[in-house]
């Protein structure tokens, strides 16, 4: 299979944050408006269909969120479909669009990921996210979303000697870059001391180990490679897509120090793209919690198993290190509006590979970008490799 058949030709994103003034439809509008404003030679009329990624319609009460989304931006009449894979919803939407485009069903597809999370209380949002765990055998014990990752952290610390300092190093890096991203939810640096001494959420994770509850939307246009140059001189190609999954109950995993689905997804994506981890200039990884970024380093082959924490401590995932990771702030500082996250990863890589992001966080000469997007505690994983 050729791996230059499908391309991204435009991208946009709303401001992420607690957007009290904006509902789901308004966030969709903001990301779409920015996309077409920034796009070189593409208009709404070129769009044949939409794929809308929304993780949970319970957050704002609107069922069938794809319908209200396309109504808002004037794409009524054209086909639309919503996809969901918990927190991996955004990349699932891009993968679905890849299939629709490459299969020939639609030429050019607008993918929008969106989540309006702050309309409910934090307790309610925590509750809703907990219900993406097994409601029969794990939800009844009040295991929160941070709790699931805390179980991974405890196991990783025990097996490999991963330390709190290593975890906090991830938070420090991501806040460093998030402070330089005007779209980020929390644009503020934190010190290692602050990050290490924040109040506990789910031991051993504290506040600074956890991503934020955010509102936001992101959008990309996916089209056939042979049409791409019509829309822009510098398309970004989808070179590889891989996906994996894991048991519904976290207790029943073969291991708690790695996400099996992420390893499968990475291997598949690398193989399809014909590259290995060393070729990656820039990675957007799913740091819903700091431990998740450390495990991602290992699952993606940036570090040997157990060495992810050291990679963070050695600052090897800053720009100029071994591989630049989450230099937009990641889920930690940019924010994590569930359905938007994977699309935002794609939008960020699109801009990075075209040299268009803020200067102090631009990865110089980046040619290959990797997006790693995890649903719940590993039940869904998509890895997408993009290249110029």
């Amino acid at each position: 299979m050729s791996n230059h058949d499908v391309a991204l030709v435009a991208a946009g994103q709303s401001k992420f944050g607690k957007r009290t003034e904006a509902g789901l439809r308004n966030l969709v509008f903001e990301a779409t408006k920015e996309l077409f404003l920034k796009a070189e030679n593409i208009s709404k009329d070129d769009i044949d269909a939409t794929v809308i990624g929304v993780a949970g319609d319970e957050f704002n009460g609107q069922g069938a969120p794809a319908a209200v989304s396309i109504d808002e931006i004037g794409l009524v009449g054209k086909p639309t479909i919503r996809v969901e894979s918990a927190c991996a919803t955004g990349t699932a939407a891009i993968k679905t669009a890849y299939g629709l485009v490459k299969s020939g069903l639609h030429d050019t597809v607008l993918v929008i990921g969106v989540e309006k999370m702050t309309a409910v209380t934090t307790g309610k949002a925590t509750e809703l996210m907990a219900r993406a765990g097994d409601i029969r055998w794990e939800y009844p014990f009040g295991c929160t979303f941070p709790g699931f990752y805390a179980l991974l952290a405890t196991a990783h610390m025990e097996k490999y000697g991963t330390t709190r300092e290593m975890l906090s190093s991830v938070a420090v890096k991501n806040h460093y870059y998030g402070a330089r991203n005007p779209k980020a939810h929390l644009q503020k640096e934190v010190t290692l001391e602050q990050a290490m001494n924040s109040h506990p959420i789910a031991h051993p994770l504290n506040l600074y180990d956890c991503s934020l509850i955010s509102d936001g939307a992101a959008a990309v246009v996916v089209t056939r490679a042979d049409l791409a140059k019509k829309y822009t001189d510098t398309p970004v190609y989808i070179k590889g897509i891989g996906s994996g999954s894991d048991t519904m109950q976290i207790a029943q995993r073969e291991t708690l120090t790695s996400l099996k689905g992420a390893k499968t997804a990475a291997q598949t994506a690398y193989k399809m793209a014909g590259i290995g981890p060393n070729a990656v200039d820039l990675a957007e990884v799913h740091d819903c919690f700091t431990i998740a970024e450390i495990i991602a380093y290992e699952d993606l082959g940036f570090a040997e198993p157990g060495q992810g924490g050291q990679l963070a401590l050695d600052k090897q995932t800053y720009i100029g290190g071994k591989v630049a990771v989450n230099v937009d702030g990641g889920l930690k500082s940019k924010g994590h509006p569930l359905g938007a996250t994977g699309v935002s990863q794609g939008a960020e890589i699109f801009r990075q590979l075209r040299g268009e992001v803020e200067k102090e966080r631009q990865v110089p000469g980046a040619e290959i970008g990797l997006s790693h997007n995890v649903g719940q505690s590993g039940q869904f994983v998509n890895v997408i490799i993009y290249g110029r």
């Binding site: 209380t121 307790g123 309610k124 925590t126 509750e127 907990a130 219900r131 409601i135 029969r136 055998w137 794990e138 939800y139 009844p140 014990f141 009040g142 295991c143 929160t144 941070p146 709790g147 805390a150 179980l151 991974l152 952290a153 405890t154 196991a155 025990e158 109040h199 506990p200 959420i201 789910a202 031991h203 051993p204 994770l205 109950q249 976290i250 207790a251 029943q252 708690l256």
Partner: protein
């Protein structure tokens, strides 16, 4: 009828009801596929081999601690219970499950690999649950 769990949102299927009633009597059962022999705990009505003839078997409730967390910020449904310890325990047959771990008093008691036992615990409002306790 007694319900399983500190909270529940699911439609209540017969197996979970039987399991809760069994817990009331102090019995914790697993299930085993009559076709391929695979065992399940928590119990299942159906096997991944797509057979649905299962038998109930006794669970050896001794377990070792595989991992744990202490929940300080709970979901709405557990708002009055925090902090509480959630543990994953592994049974002699290799099966694993999640439950609260109660009866430990210091972090020193939370050593990975430590012996535990899974026991029923009756709650208010006609609810019952299983929990890990030190063994």
């Amino acid at each position: 009828m007694t319900k399983f769990g500190y909270v529940s949102v699911e439609d209540y299927v017969p197996l979970v009801g039987e399991f809760a009633e069994s817990l009331v009597k102090g019995k914790i059962f697993a299930t085993k596929c009559k076709a391929c022999g695979k065992e399940y705990f928590p119990p299942r009505e159906e096997c991944i081999c797509l057979n649905d003839e299962m038998e109930k078997i006794d669970l050896d409730t001794s377990a070792k601690l595989v991992s744990y967390t202490i929940i300080h910020v709970p979901p709405e449904s557990h708002s009055t219970m925090a902090p509480y310890i959630i543990a994953i325990g592994e049974f002699p047959n290799g099966l694993k499950t999640m439950a609260h771990l109660v009866g430990v008093t210091s972090m020193d008691d939370l050593k990975i690999g430590r012996p535990m036992k899974l026991v029923p615990q009756t709650l208010e409002n006609e609810r019952i649950v299983y929990k890990f306790v030190p063994a």
